[in-house]
């Protein structure tokens, strides 16, 4: 279709102006083009190339990397049904089949009238409310066949047009960065002093949250539906941490966080305060990048933090930026999270207007620009160097570490601190209450509290903030205040302790405390705080396939073993599932795994650039080692069937 309209071109100019380099605006601009036309046309890409000063081929390179950008028109409503692990355990396959039947299309197709496009997608971070779907990136959770039909009826009749904009529009609220000259120079001190007493007395949001002995830290405001507004945030002590931080030296703030031993919550569990100290002396500018790309199957926490308490995150960002000395911070929110983007945009707009972000924050001479940025559908962009590439407007392909450690050579090859949303959401509390209060919670090696999403076959799936170390897996899966036990009181078969990348745990691991060191030692990780429970009825080959398919689908394609290996693994598993297994398949699965992750050990070694490739090995190694008989049963049946009746199997050209 078309180039950008004059109004959109003007908007594009303002978006570009937010970034140090024009190409960084590319993903937001592609969204703008898609918002205008419903898809990204070749003409629009050519226009964007002119605006950003690159070639159309480069725009296409970026555009075609990301799932959300459609190069052909799609239906008015894009219905994305999650087909990943937590949802599959709770019937996503059936839901998708029902949807195909109801809409009369197969996944990937558009209805004849152009109203609906149906897709099966990977985890959309609502795993505790499975099975779930998104319509134009608006959630519908715990969907049944009936509720699906009702939804389709409502959409078709236009009843939901107010809530759900046509395909192309993601967030309807944009961040407005005031022109520099108009930025408020000083903030009346009196305005930000209102504070109710402390964090401990806030209501807990009983439905989703329960907390062990300690009061919640980061989910404290979750029960309050208005907590995302600046007024309410301030009434509940918000921005006091920032005020306190600004009265300290940046070094003292960094030291406080370091003393708190705040572990990164993105997956690797690296201490945040230590990381902040890695920026090389005297190299400026420095950037802060907030990782809000949450997409590890089973993981559901960052989205909640962004939707429900955006100011808490922003306050954490400001404090971190102050401690590290960043002049600009980028809040990278996953593309599919429309509401999170809106809440953060609105919160940033409020905060800018109140002089909490921008020039001369709280009347001090500390200034920092916080830019809301968003992705477009690519799990790998959660990896920090891929996140940086993506923020530079590139394809989200990881950089090799070494040499490209972000703290030394990150965004635009400048020192860059990348931290997870949950990590930074802890920072205001730590500064307000002091590191000693924080380290009083948790166990040696893991301090404070942490959010865990418990999903799959449990009675009370949910997101729980628990104190590190004092709770065990048994507690969080079985205790009535948490998971409440296995659905239907069936037996536990296996559980994933820390997101799809983590090796599985079993019965014998139930009494391990939720604490980094212990879990690492036992051969897995707490990773992204995602506990996926599988009961005795689980088809492990199917579960394995859904996880491996995820990694193969999300492989960026940069390095050979992951690009080729994960796909190969997926195809073998599919073949086994389809009754075309071969006797050699299990050995082959393990040997391919070994070529991706030599030794298939924990922590994993890798022939790949980043840990995504080895992540695909975790479920295979776990399932094959623990449940060899399930693979054997499928394969034996296939072999037997073949010997009795000749079946043709697809055999590709040989090498």
């Amino acid at each position: 279709m078309a180039r950008l309209t004059p109004e959109n071109e003007a908007l594009a100019g303002r978006i570009i102006a937010r970034y140090p380099r024009p190409k960084s605006a590319l993903i937001p601009l592609l969204h703008l083009a898609q918002e205008q036309d419903g898809y990204v046309s070749d003409d629009a890409m050519t226009h964007l190339a002119e605006l950003v000063g690159i070639t159309p081929a480069e725009v296409l390179g970026t555009c075609s990397f990301y799932e959300m950008f459609k190069r052909e028109p799609v239906g008015k409503f894009l219905v994305n049904i999650c087909t990943n692990i937590s949802c599959v355990l709770l019937g996503a396959d059936d839901l998708l089949a029902h949807a195909e039947q109801r809409l009369g299309v197969t996944a990937g197709e558009t209805t004849a009238d152009g109203t609906f496009t149906l897709e099966g997608v990977e985890c959309i971070a609502a795993c505790t409310e499975a099975p779930c779907l998104q319509v134009n990136y608006r959630y519908r959770c715990s969907v049944t066949a009936d509720s699906f039909d009702g939804l389709i009826d409502d959409l078709a009749s236009g009843q939901l047009d107010g809530e759900i904009p046509p395909h192309g529009t993601v967030a309807r609220i944009r961040q407005v960065i005031p022109a520099r000259s108009r930025r408020r120079r000083r903030l009346a001190r009196a305005r930000c002093c209102t504070s109710v007493d402390g964090h401990r007395q806030r209501r807990q949001w009983r439905h989703l949250m329960a907390v062990s002995d300690a009061a919640p830290i980061i989910t404290a405001r979750f029960g309050d539906p208005e907590a995302h507004t600046l007024d309410r945030y301030r009434q509940t002590g918000g921005y006091e941490g920032l005020r306190k931080a600004l009265s300290m030296t940046p070094a003292a703030v960094a030291a406080e966080v370091k003393d708190a031993s705040l572990l990164g919550r993105g997956g690797a569990g690296f201490p945040a305060g230590v990381k902040w100290g890695f920026c090389p002396e005297g190299v400026w500018p420095r950037y802060l990048v907030v990782n809000g790309d949450e997409s590890e199957p089973g993981t559901y926490k960052d989205r909640m933090l962004m939707e429900r308490d955006p100011h808490q995150l922003i306050e954490g960002v400001l404090i971190a930026a102050y401690a590290v000395g960043c002049a600009q911070a980028f809040l990278y929110v996953r593309g599919e999270m429309a509401l999170a983007q809106e809440r953060i945009a609105a919160a940033l707009n409020e905060a800018y207007a109140a002089g909490l972000v921008g020039r001369n924050i709280m009347g001090t001479d500390f200034s920092v620009d916080v830019v809301l940025h968003w992705g477009a559908g690519a799990y790998i962009v959660g990896e920090e160097t891929a996140l940086i590439e993506s923020l530079e407007g590139e394809r989200g392909m990881p950089r090799l570490k070494p040499p490209f450690f972000p703290a030394a050579k990150g965004l635009y090859m400048q020192p860059t601190i990348v931290n997870n949303v949950e990590t930074l959401s802890n920072v205001p509390w730590i500064i307000t209450n002091g590191s000693a209060a924080y380290t009083a919670l948790g166990a040696e090696g893991s301090r404070g509290t942490r959010m865990f999403a418990v999903s799959g076959h449990v009675k009370r799936p949910g997101v729980y903030e628990v104190e590190f170390g004092t709770t065990t897996f048994r507690d969080i899966i079985f205790a009535p205040v948490y998971g409440g036990g296995i659905s239907g009181d069936r037996q536990l078969k296996a559980f994933i302790p820390g997101g799809a990348s983590a090796p599985w745990f079993f019965e014998e691991h139930l009494d391990l405390p939720l604490e980094k060191t212990a879990v690492d030692k036992a051969g897995s990780m707490l990773g992204s705080g995602a506990i996926v429970v599988m009961d005795e009825t689980t088809d492990v080959v199917r579960a394995c396939l859904s996880l491996v398919r995820f990694f193969s689908h999300e492989s960026c394609g940069k390095c050979t073993p992951c690009r080729e290996g994960t796909t190969w693994l997926e195809r073998i598993l599919s073949r086994i599932m389809a009754g075309q297994g071969r006797a050699s398949d299990v050995d082959l699965l393990m040997d391919i795994s070994d070529n991706i992750s030599p030794g298939i050990a924990w922590p994993p070694k890798q022939t790949t650039i980043c840990p995504l490739g080895p992540s695909a090995v975790s479920p295979i190694a776990s399932a094959v080692r623990r449940f060899p008989e399930e693979f054997a049963a499928l394969i034996d049946a296939a072999v037997a069937a073949r010997t009795s009746t000749p079946v043709s199997i697809t055999v590709g050209s040989h090498g």
Partner: protein, 615 residues
């Protein structure tokens, strides 16, 4: 004929660019042997230097490593136990212990090779690359005997035309990023790109926007498989049938090193040869594919003689006799001065010497030239203090580019200058009537009115007359350029050529004189168009003396001595007016020499036996 010409980029690791870091020798152990390396040297290069070949696909010594194919992973112990590391991304460090043959290394490399092959069509028998294909070679050397991959392979439409010259078979592509990296980082034409993701990744162009780069042919040469093929060479020969001779491209004056490859007495392709001082292995498409003219139908293959309105083929002996007669009779009737000899600027120095000797020693005329209105006066070319390409591109330097659009005229020099500007911190100041291919990379572009380059040069040197409007150059840009020249570290280099053949060379000569007089120690690279103009001028120009000999008058290569300056140029002339050539003659390096022209030179005809005899 040199049969062992090195063309495949894979064999030139030891010619990789010197690391810019200070040379601090360090010691490491590779396969049990202690070896040395430069600090910052990549392990793969150091190993190669010491005779240890590490298989690789994406690494190319003339491009930034990306560590993508993973073929080069080897076990490295830097004190924390052995770990697999890509040797193309790893800099050597003191005490590093490397094992390129351990079981772990071998298993990992075999695994990578298998991964690369599962989706590879293995159509070697019909692939141009077969016989010189790193993937094929690796597979032969280390590959598995049979495939464990029973699924169907990835299928793509057979070759797609990504430009008029280059075809892409996506099925064969191993996604090594060499072509795309070349297009972006070396040529600056990112018109091919990775698109899609994961196992669907492919190289492609934007729809309807071909890979129209002047350098596209290099991607064919560096592609480690047969995914990229050149239209003129496709299916023409097998590598083992080719005879190769190392030579120099004569399509322009850069003089890129080439390997001329032919089979059954027909030239089939040119491949770039990596040499440090010139082309680093690259060729432009003009140079790479111009060989097609050798076999062109329209090319004259035999002498023709005019007979009335027609040209009639004749035997060589008849043609030569007729030419000799014509020359002799002209000399007899009008004297040797009536003759002029225009020589081939694409000849070797030896050939140029021969025809110059014919002209001067036999025919007795000094009316010789090797340029045809597209060059610059020989005195200027030979008289200016010369700079090599390496000197011009030396890191951190400041270069004035005057006149020619280097990308259009001397493409590989453009690559070198672009590299210098993008990677080596060289500042380019352009003086040009229109933006050029290098303007994107220039620190400053001084745009002047056509024909007023000398005004612009004077303005830049701060010697413009009071009424000058600097030839139209914006005064802020001018001031910035002057400041940049003042700050320049080391001597300034000047690349000078003609911006337009429609205007007289005098403007350029004039402007060059200005820069030469005012820029201390500046050295000049004269951007001539034709292949070996420089050599031809060297051989033929010296007047009144034997060709190639030292001139008897202070002409030729006599450069101004240090401290000896040109007189300041006379006052400015009104913009746009033609200046007499004598302006040039006022510079000391060409003081007594008028521009060569068939009317102004007098030499005596030397009598001798070599005088052509009349039949």
């Amino acid at each position: 004929m040199a049969d062992d010409v090195t063309t495949a980029d894979d064999e030139i690791v030891d010619e990789a660019p010197e690391p810019v870091v200070t040379r601090k020798e360090i010691t490491l152990t590779i396969n049990g042997v202690e070896v040395d390396a430069d600090k910052g040297e990549l392990l793969i290069a150091a190993a190669e230097r010491h005779g240890v070949y590490i298989p690789h696909f994406c690494y190319h010594p003339r491009m930034e490593p990306v560590g993508m194919c993973r073929m080069c992973i080897v076990e490295v112990d830097t004190g924390r136990g052995p770990a697999l590391q890509p040797s193309c991304m790893l800099e050597c460090t003191e005490g590093m212990v490397v094992d390129t043959t351990s079981d772990v290394t071998t298993k990992a490399q075999d695994g990578i090779l298998e991964f690369l092959l599962i989706n590879h069509p293995l159509d070697c028998p019909v692939c141009d690359k077969g016989g010189e294909c790193p993937l094929q070679d690796q597979t032969m050397a280390y590959g598995p005997g049979e495939s464990r991959f029973v699924e169907s392979k990835r299928h793509n439409e057979k070759p797609i035309e990504i430009s008029e010259l280059v075809l892409l078979d996506r099925e064969r592509c191993i996604l090594c990023d060499r072509c795309t990296r070349f297009a972006k980082d070396v040529a600056g034409d990112p018109l091919i790109h990775f698109i899609n993701r994961g196992n669907h990744t492919e190289v492609n162009t934007f729809p309807d926007e071909p890979f129209a780069s002047y350098f596209s042919g290099n991607t064919v040469q560096i592609c480690p498989v047969g995914a990229l093929t050149a239209v003129p060479y496709r299916f023409k020969a097998r590598p083992w049938d080719l005879s190769k001779a190392e030579s120099t491209c004569q399509t322009c004056s850069v003089g890129c090193r080439v390997s001329v490859e032919s089979s059954r007495n027909e030239v089939l392709r040119y491949q770039g040869v990596d040499i440090d001082p010139v082309n680093w292995g690259w060729l432009c498409d003009k140079g790479r594919f111009a060989f097609e003219s050798v076999n062109a139908e329209a090319r004259l293959g035999e002498p023709l003689m005019r007979s009335g309105a027609d040209l009639v083929p004749v035997r060589w002996s008849d043609a030569l006799r007729a030419a000799a007669d014509a020359l002799a009779s002209t000399v007899e009737t009008h004297g040797p001065d009536a003759l002029a000899v225009i020589g081939g600027a694409r000849l070797t120095n030896e050939d140029a010497y021969a025809w110059a000797k014919l002209a001067k020693g036999v025919l007795g005329t000094d009316n010789v030239d090797a340029q045809m209105g597209d060059g610059l006066p020989a005195e200027l070319v030979l008289g200016l203090p010369a700079a090599t390409i390496d000197e011009v591109c030396a890191p951190g330097g400041t270069v004035v580019l005057m006149g020619a659009d280097i990308k259009e005229e001397l493409p590989v020099l453009y690559l070198r200058l672009r590299h210098a500007a993008v990677n080596d911190g060289v500042k380019l100041i352009e003086i040009t009537p229109a933006s050029t291919g290098l303007s994107r990379y220039a620190s400053l572009t001084l745009v002047h009115r056509p024909g007023e380059v000398a005004e612009a040069a004077r303005a830049l040197m701060g010697v413009a007359g009071p009424s000058s409007d600097f030839g139209g150059v914006d005064s802020d840009t001018l001031a910035a350029a002057q400041a940049m020249l003042d700050r320049a570290e080391g001597p300034v280099r000047v690349v000078v050529g003609r911006s337009s053949l429609a205007e007289s060379a005098v403007f350029t000569t004039d402007a060059t004189g200005v820069l030469h007089s005012h820029l201390d120690d500046a050295r000049f690279l004269v951007a001539l168009r034709r292949g070996n103009v420089r050599g031809a001028l060297d051989m033929v120009l010296p007047r009144a003396c034997s060709p190639g000999g030292s001139p008897s008058t202070p002409v030729g290569r006599t450069s101004p001595q240090p401290g000896q300056r040109c007189p300041p140029p006379p006052g400015s002339t009104p913009p746009g007016s033609c200046r007499p050539p004598s302006r040039v003659a006022s510079a000391p390096w060409c003081s007594s020499v008028p521009t060569p022209s068939a009317t102004s030179v007098t030499v005596t005809w030397p009598a001798g036996p070599s005088k052509p005899s009349t039949p």
